[in-house]
Symmetry: C2
Subunit: 385 residues, 2 copies
């Protein structure tokens, strides 16, 4: 399977090829609703997007009216983007170039009234872990509390009264200068509400991340923000349903999956995993993936027997949102920077729990017991022969 950055998106391919009843049927079966509930964005937002070469899409996910609770409608935004400066420039310059690019997209999100914004994994740096070089890439690691990325974003948080989730490479000075893959949650007052560290670390192909950081030690925190209960399942953690499950057990209503993943490895899994998690756990999920191809100064190999090379595969973007009832939006582009906005009613989470009963029927006690037994060294699998 080869990377093909040319195709805009699978969604646009289908929308162009089908029409009338066929398109309606495709939408019903594939997306879970015949109509995408497109929301019109402001003329100014569209202009900024055009002038700065990013895409902007917005969709609504309403819920039924209730007698006992008022609607809890929030606007959630996610941003996918490519890097902004060559990887042989000083790390400080690379990061500043990223800040300059993101500023325009974040302002657009703010103008559109986005309440909660999440950026992509390790958003302020190239995804250099493929190189397995420590220098200079470890220089991108920064304090969760007051590093440059947090400083940069908290101003927008205050300006737009917005919660921002900032996935960065974290440096923990208080614990041996260790490095972590971390999502920082900045509240609408610009304060760091807390952080979550990536629970599952890949060792596959160009994703040599275990060279740099360990499995996260922050559990499965849910952040009770002004705009609902949010959590973050970072990148490779999306392959592990039990990771998604614990965020649900802890009460999450929205779970972000900030990612960096490439066409040859995972593109056919992308539409499946975050969506399955939304269904299984009755919450909203947002899959966010960077875009573009990143090139590095020195050649590296990818553990696949192929010759050394200098570039990562194609990050295919395609960020999308799934509601607790399994309905999903079309994805952002495979090739361009983009801002995806979803106007969601959080009441839908409990409504779907009541309707489908997945939390009632999940038998967590059975699995607590089974996993407890299964992790013992002397465990004998339940095999009948």
């Amino acid at each position: 399977m080869s990377a093909t950055p040319q195709l805009h998106s699978l969604d646009s391919l289908i929308a162009n090829a089908l029409s009338g009843k066929d398109l309606e049927e495709f939408n019903r079966i594939h997306y879970g609703r015949t109509d995408h509930h497109v929301i019109k964005v402001k003329k100014n937002s569209q202009d900024v997007a055009s002038n700065n070469d990013f895409e902007i899409s917005a969709y609504a996910f309403p819920a039924k009216k209730e007698d006992t609770r008022a609607p809890r409608v929030v606007k959630v935004g996610v941003i996918q983007h490519s890097t902004a400066a060559a990887t042989d420039r000083p790390t400080t310059e690379q990061r500043q170039a990223m800040f300059n690019k993101l500023e325009k997209i974040i302002n657009t999100a703010g103008d559109e009234g986005v309440n909660v914004l999440c950026l992509q994994e390790a958003w302020s740096m190239p995804f250099a872990f493929c190189t397995r070089e420590k220098h200079p890439w470890c220089e991108f690691a920064e304090s969760a509390t007051d590093g440059p990325s947090t400083q940069f974003l908290r101003e927008f948080a205050v300006k737009y009264n917005m919660v921002i989730v900032s996935p960065i490479l974290e440096r923990d000075e208080a614990h041996g200068d260790t490095i972590w893959n971390t999502a920082v949650v900045i509240n609408e007052q610009g304060k760091v509400l807390g952080k979550h560290r990536k629970n599952h670390i890949p060792r596959v192909g160009d994703f040599n991340e275990s060279t740099y950081y360990f499995e996260g030690n922050t559990g499965h925190p849910v952040f009770d923000t002004k705009y609902g209960k949010i959590a973050i399942n970072i990148c490779y953690g999306r392959h592990h349903p039990q990771n998604w499950l614990m965020f649900g057990v802890n009460g999450a209503e929205v779970v972000f999956n900030p990612s960096a993943t490439v066409a040859g490895l995972s593109e056919h899994l992308w539409a499946v995993e975050a969506r399955n998690a939304a269904i299984a756990n009755s919450y909203f999920t947002f899959g966010i993936n960077r875009v573009g191809t990143e090139s590095f100064p020195n050649e590296f190999t990818s553990g696949d027997g192929k010759p050394a090379h200098k570039d990562f595969g194609h990050f295919y973007g395609s960020s999308y949102v799934t509601a607790p009832d399994g309905a999903r939006s079309p994805g952002l582009s495979r090739t361009k920077d983009g801002l995806l906005i979803a106007e969601i009613d959080l009441n839908l989470c409990r409504q779907i729990k009541d309707k489908w009963g997945f939390t009632m029927t999940q038998r967590l006690d059975l699995y607590a017991d089974s996993l407890n037994k299964a992790t013992k060294h002397e465990y004998k699998p339940q095999i009948i022969s």
Copy 2:
């Protein structure tokens, strides 16, 4: 969302609408491979299928060659079908009509060299649980060991040297005449190797199954057959990733999901859940769903505020297989009986575990501990505010 039995399948819609590079790209991103690896079936099989109005499709899922293990190629078949007699006929007559219909399809599977065959959920009866009537539907319940369905199938097992999974309504005389939703595993010698009872029981819409039987008490058995390690996740259990997980922990290489589910409720989830399970657990999954609309003698309501009626929604078939690498086959029809055959190399399971590392990185000890805490009455979710 309305039921639309007219559309043959989403897969055929796309295959007709796209061509050339576009179709290739769609296949790559959606199915996980550009080519479906179609296997030609015998002329005679195709004739029997045409004459008896069922579909037959076959696909290959090969693996890499290994130095240490020979290929373990097995042919797995699944059958989807509608009922064969009106529901006001005696239950014995209804079941016999089903046997007569199935005989032709099972013989075709045998002629094609299928090694392991799985039927749909409660295959020998209409899915009458929507009625909440105990009489006469409980009459379909039968002994797993030597009930009519087991007697009927064991002859084919011996004749074709074939393992057959038979999901039935079970009557357990030894335990208070209780009823269970059970899959019986008959080995290639016609002996009952064991059984598994549905772990998660729905209470949604027409699926009033908790009126008839409890949650299964057989754990997560994996059956070590002549043709590989198989397990069965019955119907609604597909919504629970932890159920799929435990079959994987116990070593399953193939997990069947015999189901009965309708268009209005779940059609947009169908392509997501069993596929996600194959990806997360590095095994093959087969989703099997009955077809057609079933009508009952007395009217019933569906818990949705709508007037009483006599028919279930449309069972949309669409049975499909997913490999451990996430590649999937097109689905069988939404409207016709069908036999789906997959020639799979079981070596692919471990190859993908080695490549993606999901079993290495799944941190089961963390989740055993987390779930153990979460199921305590005094549990306080990990919420940061």
